[in-house]
Subunit: 428 residues, 2 copies
């Protein structure tokens, strides 16, 4: 008899769901404030829709055939399905601003903060080529981090055009871009010497390697980094990327956001489909990959519609965020139930009155339970205690006579007799 | 280039999602009021978990192998996975009350209100063998129907034990129970003569057929039906079922619910796993199958844990409900966005001030957008109009000089100049 979910997938019990929903609700409310609207794509796509979009990672897609022999796949992210939907619905008003918090599947080795089924939390602007749209995506990210209570984090900014121009300027051949970027992306993890070693193995010349590392050594504040890059990157793509970066930083400054965004020219972001600004969020001092990642993908929708439609967005790494919030003892809800009141019958004779009181509370939008399984008095109290229900509303013969209820607050331990209107006031 | 989702699956655009979330929120708030808590099971299960649980319908399960050769399946309903989870977590406090609103997959022919991927909306009480738990499930169902605005509906009540006892009393052999129940379940659709014809084809004797039809002819109110049955069903199971039914109806009466529950002894409900009370909701005068269905399943969890744990619950047919609400012109939200305010810049020179105003509104929890794609004034207005955004907050040079905003209400057509605090008050 199998009792467990498939490896790398999870049963999320109420205790866990209450924490997750708390986090999701904060994120959702930021998305909505910024004018993004909900959308859902199906979990299953024709395989063809997903193929050729993710590069190396494509091997992690769950594929299968249905009974009609069609090639299907479980959705690997929320961005490619969104792009298909945009192509299928050419009359959507643009810019089209949508968020989606939904499951994706990856046939990955399970590990810390990594699951085979997990939730992604995406927000995108479709149909605007303005850098203002990228700025808004970053503003959403920062507001979410602040609202969740994170203090020490950095939103790293880069631009594919700058990165490509750097590679070009030191003479890396275009067919090597991808493998070189993979090494560069590891800069933080393996250090500059580690990256150099990998690049030697990938047969870059010492001159190319030194050229690259001089770029990744650039330090200073955003303005200083921009100035230094401006002196070196004079080819077309580089200038375009720098102008976009300049514009992006200046919009962010104007939005009055906390200054937690920082240019980092070694930021590569794995996915094939980015074309302009890229960004990710890291938690400083925490051993964990990025907790958000995104960028502009102006060429992806065109793969479905035939005509390019500019788009930019980010994915909030909700699973990692929740794991870190637990690890760092953030103030997450601790109870195992949303129930606020347990209506307790002292014995069978008052059950009927308990049912009535529960109906009254529910009519007034108070979440409550009563004794559904013939528990004795003491066991009802224990039930409330282990679930973390704050209030007991006890009805015995004495209370019935006085037309009152004994209200016990399990947090303070205090109890007193009240009528039902007073009870409602306290527990609402 | 494929632009469409797989057949029978759907892309749910914001306009649709806003309607769905409106309905889901109503349902969720009833679940929570009644003390049910959220739980999520994975979308994917080991095939073995689902096999042998659904009878005939098992052929509709999506099955596949993962890269490690394991037999997996997309979840077919939310009840069987819940049962597995209960078995895997023996220390959960009982009664365990959970709800789940989540996707399931069936390889079914798509049709009206029927999809290959759709949402189920389940609520269950686990660990109580009291009929009070069944009554609570029905109370939840009725409250949801009322809160959604349905007037003319019936919650049909029956009990597997009564049904089995009826079959026994007329001498149907046990191995024929299932096929006979399938015919009986069609009573409403094909009429008593249709059912009789099917039963003849299934080789029941005229005496057996007449015996059965005399039960399904029983009319009157709940009390009258109970009394008539009491006279005829004197075998052990029948009495047990009748006592449960009596108890159920008396709890429902005591709960003070609208009297929309009605005993119907021909109600069979397809699923194999029901053991006691069964129930379903139908909309009177609407061509549509049941919009909720459930019952007690005291033997299902035991298939995973080895020890039986009593349980009862229902599934709200949310897809059908939404389809009917649209058909009957219920008052569902009509807008394509949750955005309340579009901040409009008259020309490029005031964009910066629009960004500031948007930041101010968002800080105060007002959902708003500003011009992300360089639209001219007229096109911004058109954008707001076609999305159904109620308010325009227009900033031109004149407004800037006066430190005011022109606020236009798109519903009333009225507009006036206000300062930003007054604006906030109106749009909040």
């Amino acid at each position: 008899m199998i009792k467990q979910p498939p490896k790398g997938m999870r049963d999320l019990l109420p205790e866990e769901m209450i924490k997750r929903n708390y986090v999701f609700d904060i994120i959702k409310s930021v998305f909505i404030k910024y004018g993004f609207d909900p959308l859902e794509s199906p979990s299953v796509e024709y395989s063809e829709v997903l193929e050729g979009k993710y590069g190396e990672e494509e091997k992690l897609i769950y594929k299968f055939k249905d009974k009609g022999g069609r090639d299907l796949a479980l959705r690997y992210d929320l961005t490619v399905p969104l792009s298909r939907i945009i192509a299928a619905n050419p009359n959507l008003n643009k810019p089209f601003k949508r968020f989606q918090i939904s499951r994706v599947w990856r046939y990955d080795r399970p590990g810390k903060g990594r699951y085979k089924e997990f939730w992604q939390c995406d927000v995108d602007v479709v149909g605007s080529d303005s850098i203002l749209a990228d700025a808004e995506i970053i503003a959403v990210t920062i507001e979410i981090m602040e609202d969740l209570g994170f203090k020490d984090y950095t939103v790293r900014l880069n631009n594919r055009k700058i990165l490509n121009s750097i590679l070009e300027s030191v003479g890396v051949p275009e067919k090597k871009y991808n493998e070189v970027l993979i090494s560069i992306d590891k800069l933080e993890r393996i250090g500059i010497e580690g990256v150099k070693k990998e690049l030697r193995e990938k047969e870059l010349s010492p001159k190319q390697i030194n050229g690259l590392s001089s770029f990744f050594d650039i330090s200073g504040n955003n303005q200083q980094i921009l100035n230094k890059l401006k002196k070196t990157l004079k080819n077309g793509k580089g200038e375009e990327g720098l102008n976009e970066m300049y514009e992006l930083v200046s919009y962010l400054d104007k939005m009055g956001l906390p200054k937690k965004y920082k240019i980092m020219v070694s930021l590569a972001r794995g996915l094939d489909y980015y074309t302009g600004p890229t960004f990710e969020t890291v938690l400083n001092g925490v051993e964990m990959g990025s907790v958000s990642g995104g960028g502009r993908f102006d060429k992806l929708i065109g793969k479905f519609s035939g005509t390019d439609i500019p788009a930019t967005g980010t994915s909030i790494g909700i699973e990692r965020i929740i794991d870190v919030m637990k690890e760092l003892n953030f103030d997450l809800p601790k109870q195992k139930t949303l129930t606020k009141v347990l209506v307790v019958n002292v014995d069978e004779s008052t059950l009927q009155d308990c049912i009535k009181l529960a109906s009254f509370l529910r009519k007034n939008n108070v979440s409550c339970q009563f004794n559904l399984s013939g528990k004795k008095f003491g066991k009802q109290i224990k039930y409330a205690d282990s679930l973390g229900i704050q209030y007991l509303a006890i009805i015995g013969k004495e209370e019935l006579k006085q037309n009152k209820v004994t209200l016990k607050d399990m947090v303070t331990g205090k109890q007193r007799k009240v009528n039902k209107e007073a009870l409602l006031k306290i527990v609402s």
